[in-house]
Symmetry: C2
Subunit: 207 residues, 2 copies
DNA sequence: CGACAACTTGAGACGCTTCAAAAAGGGTGG
DNA sequence: CCACCCTTTTTGAAGCGTCTCAAGTTGTCG
């Protein structure tokens, strides 16, 4: 792991703050070892405002392999907001964006079956990973997650994750091989994930 | 429901942006009606940056009873960041805080049993509700949630929620009556929730 | 070639879900 | 004040999805 001072981070629209050379995950654990991955971070992603980071060791970030990243202090964050409001605005936006990832995952974990959760995760990760790929992922995208990561991300047991993964693979929906993920029947995956059909207006719309 | 222009919102350290006269919830639904409440909003809470609000009706906010609130546009948000960086900073902080609520809930839904989830929710909601109470909730706190709300918040079925709730109540851990929540054996509830014991440092600490 | 991590598979147990239906509240109009 | 309706709560019973336990296989790296 390499730690790069903020002022040296070279990247993208918002170079100052974050990024990896590889994947990582935010997670929480219970005292008996049960572990829940909150969301995955891909190269180029923003590490959320980790204010609660130090509060307890309950909340962590784990690298799935070597990463390089930038960290910043709360004070520095405030200074930045004052000095460069537009970047501060971007940070707010990015924080909100990260939350939306967690929101999506909570919907999965709370209300989708194992098959549906896995289909959802594969599609979403593929999409994110394909963005930085040359041809949009025609020959798959890099996929460094172990089945244990997937299980912890979806609130499933390792065993059941494996069986479900194999079932979908045997049905020809996807393939994971050599550290790469291939979607072979995107339509079926999307159908399983119910990614479009979201709906139902709020009974009492507020906004 | 009353809609108050932002510049008139009277409240707290950060009067401009949010708040209710009552409770509400953020949720998502699947096309077949399955519903997951992401987090609950209590009086005084901030409504997150609802950028994705309009993206699809998949994401909603429901009032549990009449509420009054402030809304703001994305542009207004940007203008605010520029004009008042300190408030912009607070917004970032609040957005991150709301995310931490969702994180906590995701840990519950993904890795806690039904009993543990309910214990966790009761304690956390009680704490939040007690803050604004005169005596810190010695005679309970207002509790407008139905069991369906609790079920949707915890990723459980209504039936199982009811049975678990009754089991805990019969064991003397809590009481819900007349729209109020009373914690009767906080210690036992905390033990169930594993709220302190969080632990386990990251295998590969990043920060 | 030995060691360790990741993956795979089978089998039994249990927690939670679904279905079904009744009881208890809460509000409204006659 | 009662009759009615609709929402919320409660309880029983059966089914199944997921978990745990157990062990074997495959892959990787030194």
């Amino acid at each position: 792991m390499t730690d790069i001072p903020c002022n040296q981070c070279p990247l993208r629209a918002l170079p100052l703050f974050t990024l990896f050379s590889c994947w990582a995950s935010r997670f929480k654990t219970l005292s008996d070892g049960r572990r829940q991955i909150l969301n995955f971070l891909l190269p180029g992603d923003f590490i959320g405002v980790q204010q609660k980071m130090t509060e307890a060791s309950a909340h962590g970030v784990e690298a799935l392999s070597d990463v390089s990243l930038c960290t910043f202090q709360r004070d520095a964050l405030w200074a930045l907001h004052r000095a460069a409001p537009s970047i501060g605005f971007d940070i707010t936006w990015l924080a909100a964006h990260e939350e939306s990832l967690v929101d999506d995952n909570l919907l999965s974990v709370g209300r989708r079956s194992a098959e549906e959760r896995i289909a959802t995760l594969l599609i979403l990760l593929f999409k994110r990973a394909a963005v930085v790929m040359p041809q949009g992922g025609v020959d798959g995208v890099p996929f460094p997650l172990t089945q244990q990561h997937i299980a912890d991300g979806l609130g499933l047991s390792l065993v059941h994750t494996n069986k479900t993964l194999r079932k979908l693979e045997r049905r020809g929906l996807h393939r994971i091989e050599g550290g790469r993920l291939y979607l072979r029947d995107t339509r079926a995956l999307v159908r399983l994930a119910d990614l479009y059909g979201d709906g139902k207006p709020s009974p009492r719309p507020l906004i």
